[in-house]
Every structure is written in structure tokens, then in C-alpha cells.
Amino acid sequence: MRKIGDIASQTGQLTEVHNLVPLPPPYDRVEDLPARKELKPEVLDRIDTSLDGFSALGLSRPQTPEEERKFIDRFLSGLEKLLSADNNWTFLEPLNLSLDHCARCQSCVEACPIYTASGHDEVYRPTFRSEVFRRLVNQYHKSGGRALAWLKGEDIELNAATLCRLLESAYRCTLCRRCAQACPMGVDNALLTREIRKLFSMEMGIAPKEIHDKGSMLQLRTGSSTGMNARAVRDNVAFLDEEIRDQTGLTIETPWDKEGADVLLIHNAGEVLAWPENPMAFAIILEAAGISWTMSSDLAGYDSVNYGLWYDDAQFARVAVRQAEAARKLKVKKIVLGECGHGHKASMVTADRLLCGDLNVPRESALVLLRDIVMSGRLALDPSRNDFPVTLHDPCNMVRMMGIVEPQREILRKICPQFREMTPHGVDNYCCGGGSGFAIMSGYNFADWRFSVAGRMKLKQILNAFADCPSPAVKKYVCAPCSNCKGQFRDLFQYYGVWEKSGILYGGLAELIVNAMADISQPYIKWEFH
């Protein structure tokens, strides 16, 4: 069994992924899976993989004692700032509460899908990184900390290995917060994980390039983390309007920058490129329901993503303010967030106390608007068009962290005769395994870890939900009303060959509604585009 102090070990790898929880047949055949990506020796020489053999960040270990000293000093400087009101007024209180009140009772550990999937690997225990971080804070931040740490037997050597492993470990948690639900004290390991990420990003400039350089920085520069500027997104959406006409015969022109509209719809812009059927479905539904709506071509006004939520308060605040400014400028009655979980939470919850006065434009979930439309009878719906097995994935950010549980279920119960729940579901759901940025992170060999460990419990859940109809001949649908989760399902299903072995397709909620619309002659869901 690994000890907490082992994180400082100067040599070797802390653990190796090998004792994974078994998947049901035919997914238990390891030989059917793609080979794990072998990192080249020159890459292994350059980057740190000493946590578990995987790398999310491509972090280089300091090469000289001077570099190591500097690395440690920068961390300690960041630690001081993380625990100061001026630098961390945003989360200082919950951070301190979680640092000070853990009873180390381990009640939370079984709630973690990653720890469970890994076969209870100590390194993935949700309290492991929290305890390392807590001990570092106690030892190196508090007065008399070193002597007390020694006395208590809680001292940890602070070296480059400790820090590299701690940071990598912060990217082995999807911030799903199931462990926080289980804690009798209200301690939140996911918050501590996020604060560790934040320290490294905001003080040391270290974050995964997918969520910083190619994510929030790109969004602030161009307007979207996809890199689409306003002109590109308008061109792409105009193309989708044409697609709607070709597929359904409906003539729709997506409204842009319409002042005074009731609804400013902000999608995750990734939908436009990766799952265009989702924004198309929204356009069809809103037009058919007679909603006064618009999209914004202002910077960040057409992309609901806010990756700062996962790792950096400065980036978070900048994007949240840009999105609110776009809504204020158009004088809309409300912002409606499309099917993007973290976009929901970032805008409606975490940014709430950042946006005051006329910047606090009311914000609502698209699931609620869709529920109102479907239940109002404004659309002619034929549930027999959705007469195939459907299950629902609950995105953590919308459900566990926002309590939006029933609207999507009301819709599915009305339009999907074979709807069935996963176990567990609702606020107790398992994360898809792509949360907190993982769905867009595939650098080095991280994708292998994401598929084999992070997404494992979710895959088991999905297969169990369809256990009564396992044959690939029976087409089945996982409704995932979140772009990030869909990104994870796309990659996870491909990795395990889920379409070929089980005939399971994933997609959004709006697509199921349009598929049930009696006025549209052709089926909207295209099974062949799995």
C-alpha cells in the first residue's frame, strides 16, 4: 500500500494502472482494445510521468538544483497567495474550510468513480491529493508548521517530484464532487483539486495547453475556444440553416444580434463544428414554438464555454464578464444556455456573484425552456418516432451542482416510450469521465487513462441500462445534454467499439425532440452517422 509521503519519492513511478474493475462481456477482452500509446524514450526523458505513467500536462521536471529551488519557491509563493484574501477572495473561505476540517474518516472514498474503477488504487483515492496538499499547507504555510508536522508524523519532503506528482494528480479528478456529497463534514476534495490547479496556473503559468492556450486564451482572443471568430461562426451557422432546409424542408434563418429579443441563446460553440445537429435542432424547435430569440456575434457571446471554471479564476472572470456584456448590449430578457454543463454552472452559478447591476442578466437553462415548449403542446410530437431504448446521462455540472434534474426527464418521459434510468442517476450520477476539461485533453498518453479509468464506471452504467437489449441490432440512444460529456462519449465509445458491439449512439436532448416532431417527414436522428 502506498503511503502519502511516497509522493516525494525521487525515483520510480508511484503506481501503475493494472487492477481495473472488470467490464461486462464482450468489453472484458483486453485484446480487443486499441494498444496503449507508448511514449517515445526521448519524450519520457523530457516529461514527468512519475505519478502513474501518464501525462496530462507534459510537465518537465527541473534539471538542476537551482531550477528545482526556483520551482519550489514559486510554488510556495503561490501557496501564500492562494491562502490570502487579496489574491483568492473568490474561494478562500471554502478552501480553508476544506483544509481544516477533514476528520480523515474516508467516508468519501467509495463515492469516487475513478478510485472505484482503478480497483482502489491508493494514488486515485480522492483524499490522497487532498491530504498531500493539506500537509504541505500545514507544514510550509502555517507558523511552527515544520515542527508540528514532524511531531505529528505528517511531514512531507517538498521537492520537484512532490510538486510534479501533485499537479498531475490534480488532473486525475474530474471535479464531479461525488466525494463532497458523501463527506459528513462538508469537506470538498474537488474544490481542493481545483485550488491546486489554480495555484499552478495563476502563479506558475502551468496548465494543460488544451484548456489554457488553446482554450480560454483562444476564446478571449477570437471569441471562441474553437478558434471561430464572429464571421466564421456566422458562416458556419448559415450553412447549418441550409442543412435544415435540405433535411427538413423548413426555411430558417438564425437571427443574429437582434436587439430586444426575449432569449439570447448561447451554445457551446463546439456544437456548431462537432455536433451541428444540436444547434440545428434548437433552431427548429425555437422557430416552431414561436420564441423571440437571437444569437450574438460579440466576443464570447456565441460560445458558452468557460474553461476557467476548472483551473483559473482570472480566466474565468474574463470570459464570464464578456458573455454578460454581450447579453447586456442586446438588451435581451434572458440568456438561455444551450446543452453545455460547465457553461451552465460557470454562467448561472459561479459567475453569479461576479455579475452585478445590469451585467447580471437573468440566465436560464435550455432544458427548462425545452421542457416548457414540449409540455405546452406548442409542438406536434409523435413519441412512436422515438420508440427505441433511451437512457439519460446526468451532466454533473447541471445536475449535482445545479439541481436541474426533472425538466429533461419530463421531456423524455413524454417523447421516449422506452426511456429508462441509469443506476445511480440524478444528483447521484457518475461523471462521464471527461469532466473538468478531460474530454478535450488527449495529449501525450492521457487519452488512454481517460478511457480506461475515468470513463469506466460510466461505460458500465450505460451497458447496464441497456442490459435487456444488448444486441447491436437494437439501436439505442444515450441522451447526453452536454457538449463536454458528448465529447467524452464520442471518444469512449470509439475506443471500446460500443457502436459495433452494442449499437449504442449518443446525442443531445434537442435532437430527440425534433426526431419526435410530427411535422418533419424524415427521421432527424441519423443512426448511420454514429
Binding site: 500500500m1 497567495k81 484574501a85 487579496d86 489574491n87 477572495w89 473568490t90 474561494f91 478562500l92 473561505e93 474550510l97 481544516d100 476540517h101 477533514c102 476528520a103 474518516c105 474516508q106 472514498v109 463515492a111 483524499t127 491530504e131 505529528k152 508524523g153 463532497a180 456529497q181 463527506c183 459528513p184 463534514m185 462538508g186 470538498d188 474544490l191 495563476m202 502563479e203 503559468g205 492556450d213 480560454s216 486564451m217 478571449l220 482572443r221 466576443l299 482570472a314 472572470a317 452559478v349 459561479t350 453569479d352 456573484r353 455579475l355 452585478c356 447591476g357 447580471n360 437573468p362 437553462s365 427548462v368 449535482r400 451542482m401 439541481g403 436541474i404 434534474v405 425538466p407 444528483v427
Partner: protein, 299 residues
């Protein structure tokens, strides 16, 4: 005399230490929201599945959710039944429950003994009986709980790696308090006797046996030690649960939100990463309004 001084100092440290801790948290800046469902507020039907006000269209036009009763009921289950431990770590529950109830009974009987002494209620037989039987019960539960937890912490694979000297020390201290409490009964004083002497004629404490004195010394040490440990979770749950986990109050319904935000935005950030304040301190209002970040380069 030394014991009297020790007890007096311990009581002062206990109250001052806890007060400082509470004030420290009360004075922290209002953080961003970080709630977690289920939250025991709002209509009961919605609470059952963990729903929130966000499920309503135009939620900002509706009355905000309230739910002191729901929160209190939830907290009562947590405090008296250790609901989360029962649901998530059944093997630990019994020992933890015994220890907690030992502490609750100890606190209760002490309060009753103080009442009896202050009211000079020697003739209140019920009060006397409650203390007479409550104190040994408290100590018995506490001994069983702390011993059980010590064994669990030493042997159970889920706990062993997270059991440090301080965990062992805390449980041993609690165990010693309860064991000496039980043994002090053989001195013939009983809790009400000890409390009466402490309050009315402390100078005569020396007449009591060594075990009773040891018990009081241990209690004094525990009181002084308590505010500096994680055991303050006893009351800090108010902050972790009510203040953070259940705090889903929207800013739109909070008239003081703008003032608090304005104060926070005036704070100076000194984060050294290139995209924040590498060039020197910068106000949070400037951080948030800086559209491109300060340079794209990463260290």
C-alpha cells in the same frame, strides 16, 4: 490550586479560541458560489430528488427558496445519527456513533450538573438521577467509541494509511478522559460533586482522589486543545454546509451583493503568471476586464 488555574485557563482558551476561529471565518470575503445538491430547501417534492429553483422558468421572478426546517432536520440526522457515515462507511459508524454520543451525554450531564450546582437543586431528584446515571453512561459510550476507533484506525485498510500520530493522540486523549471519568466514580465524588466543588469551593478540590483530579486535568487539556483541531467540525459544519454547500442564494435577490463585489474588485492580485499580474499588482476589476489576458506566453 494548580488544577484550578489549569481549568480556568483552559476554559478561557476554549471560548477565546473558538470565538477567534468563528470570527476569522466570518470576516473572510464572500466567496463565489459553490453549492452542491441535494439542498434541503424549497418544496419538499423537489428536495426528494435534489432539484433546485433553476428548474423553474424565469426563476428570478419567483420567491427565493427558504428552508430552515429542512436544513435543521438534515443537520439533526447528521449530528445525532451520523447519517453520512452510516451511508458511506458502515463499518466505522458504530464506533463513531458511540464516541459522539459519549461526548453528547458528557456535555449534557455536565450542563445538568452545573445547573444543579447553580440552582442549589440538591432536592431535584430527577436532575440528580440524570447526572448520576448519565455520566457513567457517557463515559462508557466514549470509552467503547474511542477504543473501537483506535482499533479501526490501526487495522482497517481504508483508514490505516490516513492514521497519523495526531489521530491516535486525539482518540487516546478522548479515551483517557472517558476512562478517568469512569474511574473517578470510585473516588465517590461523581460528576455533580466535582462540579459543585469547582463552582462553590474550589479550594477543597484537593480533598478528592488523584483519579478525579487527573480526570479534571485531562478535561482541561482537551478544552484548551479543542479549538486548534479539526474537531471544531462540531460547529464549523454551519459554515461548510449552510454557508457553502447549501448556499444557492442568487445575487439578484441579494441587495448587498453589489457592495460586496465592489469591495472585492478593489483588492489587488499579485499572481505572477504571465496572463495575470506578472508586471506588478493589479486590481481584480482590471483582471476581470482585461479582454485578452496579459500576454499569451506561458512560463
Amino acid at each position: 490550586m494548580l488544577l484550578i488555574i489549569l481549568i480556568s485557563v483552559a476554559v478561557i482558551v476554549f471560548f477565546a479560541g473558538n470565538a477567534v476561529r468563528i470570527v476569522h471565518f466570518l470576516r473572510m470575503p464572500t466567496p463565489l458560489r459553490w453549492e452542491l445538491y441535494p439542498i434541503p430547501k424549497g418544496p419538499r417534492a423537489r428536495q426528494r430528488y435534489g432539484g433546485s429553483y433553476f428548474e423553474q422558468s424565469d426563476w428570478w421572478t419567483k420567491s427565493p427558496d427558504t428552508g430552515r426546517t429542512g436544513e435543521l432536520a438534515f443537520m439533526a440526522k447528521e449530528v445525532f445519527l451520523l447519517r453520512s457515515v452510516w451511508e458511506n462507511f458502515r463499518g466505522l459508524w458504530l464506533w463513531s456513533w458511540l464516541l459522539h454520543w459519549g461526548l453528547y451525554f458528557y456535555l449534557l450531564t455536565t450542563v445538568l450538573a452545573v445547573l444543579a450546582a447553580v440552582l442549589r437543586a440538591g432536592s431535584f431528584r430527577l436532575l440528580h438521577l440524570a447526572v448520576l446515571y448519565g455520566f457513567p453512561l457517557a463515559c462508557s459510550l466514549g470509552v467503547a467509541g474511542s477504543l473501537g476507533l483506535l482499533v479501526m484506525r490501526s487495522l482497517h485498510p481504508r483508514l490505516r494509511g490516513y492514521t497519523t500520530r495526531s489521530s491516535v493522540f486525539n482518540l487516546t486523549l478522548l479515551g483517557a478522559v472517558f476512562v478517568t471519568g469512569l474511574l473517578s466514580l470510585s473516588d465517590g465524588a461523581g460528576l455533580d460533586g466535582l462540579v459543585r466543588v469547582l463552582l462553590r469551593s474550589p479550594a477543597s478540590l484537593g480533598h478528592y482522589g488523584k483519579i478525579s483530579q487527573a480526570h479534571l486535568a485531562l478535561v482541561a487539556f482537551f478544552l484548551a486543545y479543542f479549538p486548534f483541531t479539526h474537531m471544531t467540525h462540531a460547529y464549523m459544519k454551519y459554515f461548510t454546509w449552510h454557508g457553502v454547500r447549501w448556499n444557492d442564494s442568487p445575487a439578484i435577490h441579494d441587495p448587498r451583493a453589489a457592495k460586496r463585489l465592489a469591495a472585492s474588485l478593489q483588492r489587488e492580485a499579485t499572481w505572477a503568471a504571465a496572463h495575470i499580474a506578472a508586471g506588478g499588482p493589479v486590481k481584480w476589476s482590471e483582471v476581470a476586464s482585461d479582454p485578452g489576458g496579459r500576454g499569451a506566453g506561458r512560463a
